[in-house]
């Protein structure tokens, strides 16, 4: 019941955000906003595995790119509406997430992280050598200029991503308050103790890798329509892997609020830096902030605020 209230509240906020952005009446705000929202979904997805379960995934870009390439593939076959593409992209990435979970279930800590990194490299190599989806040359996707009811296509994409944010946040918060969330937390804190308490650790890890992967794929599915020209190096870009780790870390990994705050903060900062300084400075900002937060606030902004509340009490 409370999840339903939360969902309605989120939808209301999303509607307000959409109309507020529309009221600004500047296409660039939609372009920039789309990227920020995309990072909200990515970092929320990363956090389900990395924050709740404690398994650090360095291969976020691979899942994102899979979603994007699923769209390219389908687009060549038969153009489908974006919501359907999102479902397909999510399914493809979810299945790969499940597979990754099976392959790496014996690995912990740094070894798991390295394995996910390897997965990204392997998938990128496959895509580069697959001509049907453009290979290393990349693939063009011509998006329509307008769409019925909403108007400019970018506004439609923005709205789609806003809906994905609502879905991702609801899933994350739902997990947090469920038995599943507690199960994840036991794996993060002590896997052996979790097993001794009868937590089906393997099954929960697979659920986490699948859910996390699926959400990343869903975030990637509309991407080709947004960018117009998709090439492996942009879809598998380092920035996706780094941002989807840095944003939850900076926001705080223990609750759904953390990745949201981190993504909005860091995402907006990057957009501002892109316009005012240069696009190359983005990762530098991420790196510096990450170092600063690890030193000053290892539990992220959420941890900082929680500590502050506890002290004033």
């Amino acid at each position: 019941m409370r999840t339903r209230v939360f969902l309605l509240l989120l939808i209301a906020v999303a509607i307000v955000v959409f109309f507020a952005t529309r009221w600004v009446n500047n296409d660039y705000v939609f372009f920039a906003g789309y990227t920020v929202l995309q990072f909200v979904v990515l970092s929320t997805a990363w956090n389900i595995l990395g924050g709740y379960t404690g398994y650090v995934n360095f291969g976020s870009a691979a899942f994102f790119a899979l979603g994007a390439y699923a769209t390219v593939f389908l687009h060549k076959l038969y153009p489908l509406p974006i919501p359907l593409l999102i479902v397909v992209g999510g399914a493809v990435s979810g299945i790969v997430g499940l597979g990754m979970g099976y392959l790496t279930l014996r690995l912990r800590g740094a070894f798991f992280a390295i394995a996910t990194l390897a997965l990204a490299v392997v998938l990128q190599t496959l895509i580069v050598n697959w001509d049907y989806v453009g290979g290393s040359r990349g693939a063009y996707i011509i998006r329509p200029n307008e769409i019925a009811l909403i108007g400019p296509y970018i506004q439609y994409l923005f709205l789609v991503m806003l809906a994905l944010v609502v879905i991702a946040l609801t899933v994350a918060r739902g997990i947090e308050r469920s038995r599943l969330g507690y199960g994840f937390a036991t794996i993060r804190d002590d896997e052996l103790a979790a097993e001794a308490s009868g937590v089906p650790t393997l099954r929960l890890k697979l659920i986490a890798t699948t859910l996390s992967g699926a959400l990343m794929g869903m975030a990637g599915a509309p991407f080709p329509y947004y960018i117009g020209y998709l090439q492996p190096s942009s879809a598998f870009g380092l920035e996706y892997a780094v941002n989807s780790i840095a944003m939850p870390m900076i926001g705080g990994t223990t609750s759904w609020v953390g990745p949201l705050i981190g993504a909005i903060l860091l995402g907006s900062l990057q957009q501002i830096a892109t316009v005012t300084i240069s696009s190359a400075v983005n990762l530098l900002i991420v790196g510096l902030l990450l170092v600063a937060f690890v030193i000053i606030a290892p539990n992220g902004i959420v941890g900082l605020v929680q500590g502050w509340i506890r002290r004033t009490k």
Binding site: R179, Y182, G183, A185, T186, R188, D189, D190, L192, A193, A194, E195, A196, S197, G198, V199, P200, T254
Partner: protein
């Protein structure tokens, strides 16, 4: 508010027959047989690296033995444990208090306890068991909202015990409750286990390297050396009076 296992009448026992276990090429257990009968507290004595924890893990299905059988009798019904997953073994009513406590440090005391009853079967008696744990360990009730990792070692050991009790276990495995505790806390922990066992007729298998403390609560015991049972004491006295144990382990 009576836990399911209070006033127990049905048989609960654990029989390990000739198990072998290894990590890769390293043999850890060789032809180990032991049994724990209803209401008994059996101690598994041995110093570090002799295979005590591995034996516990074999029972829990965390480590698969290469050979041998592990059979339990739960409420009069026999079950073969080999090939079962850890969750299924927990569902049968076998709980492990892991070595080094292994709490969930970033969760509260109460959350740790609730997680002890993660299995659906255990949740049916969740309320009663939680009340029971707080009654047995008043200290935990006082600290229910505190993070488990911020408590003292002794309190953490109590929490680890209580967490296992949340399963209403028929058979309780306790792996080295004395690890990392001050001597006074070790004896207090042992007292608590004794109290629980006397009051509720728990069937307990406890691995321990603190011989004098373990012998205080043992009905019977085994000494394990290099993965083999070196000596079986059919009573606490037999363990206490054995020449080798007195010489090598008790320093008498």
């Amino acid at each position: 508010m009576i836990p399911r296992w209070k006033g127990l009448t049905l048989a609960n026992s654990l029989t390990i027959e000739k198990i072998d276990a290894a990590y890769g090429a390293v043999r850890v257990l060789e032809n180990v047989s032991l049994n724990v009968n209803t209401g008994e507290t059996v101690v598994l004595l041995g110093t570090n690296g002799n295979g005590k924890s591995t034996l516990m893990k074999c029972v829990m299905g965390i480590v698969r033995p290469r050979a041998g059988r592990i059979v339990v009798e739960i409420d009069g019904e026999r079950h073969d444990l080999i090939g079962r997953s850890t969750e299924q073994i927990v569902d049968l009513g076998i709980a492990l208090v892991p070595e080094g406590r292994r709490l969930f440090p970033r969760l509260s005391v109460e959350e740790n306890l609730l997680l002890g009853a993660f299995r659906r079967k255990a949740r049916t008696a969740l309320r009663a068991n939680l009340d029971f744990c707080f009654e047995c360990f008043p200290r935990l009730a006082e600290r229910r909202a505190q993070l488990a990792g911020s408590m003292s070692g002794g309190e953490q050991q109590m929490l680890a015990l209580a967490r296992a009790l949340m399963l209403s276990p028929r058979i309780l495995l306790i792996d080295e409750p004395s690890v990392g505790l001050a001597p006074v806390l070790v004896s207090r922990t042992i007292d608590k286990i004794k109290e629980l066992k006397d009051q509720y007729k728990l069937t307990v298998l406890m691995a321990e390297q603190n011989f004098p403390q373990a012998l205080r609560i043992a009905d019977r015991g085994y000494v394990i050396v290099h993965g083999q049972i070196a000596f079986e004491g059919r009573s606490a006295d037999e363990l206490n009076n054995n020449e080798l144990i007195r010489k090598f382990y008790l320093g008498l």
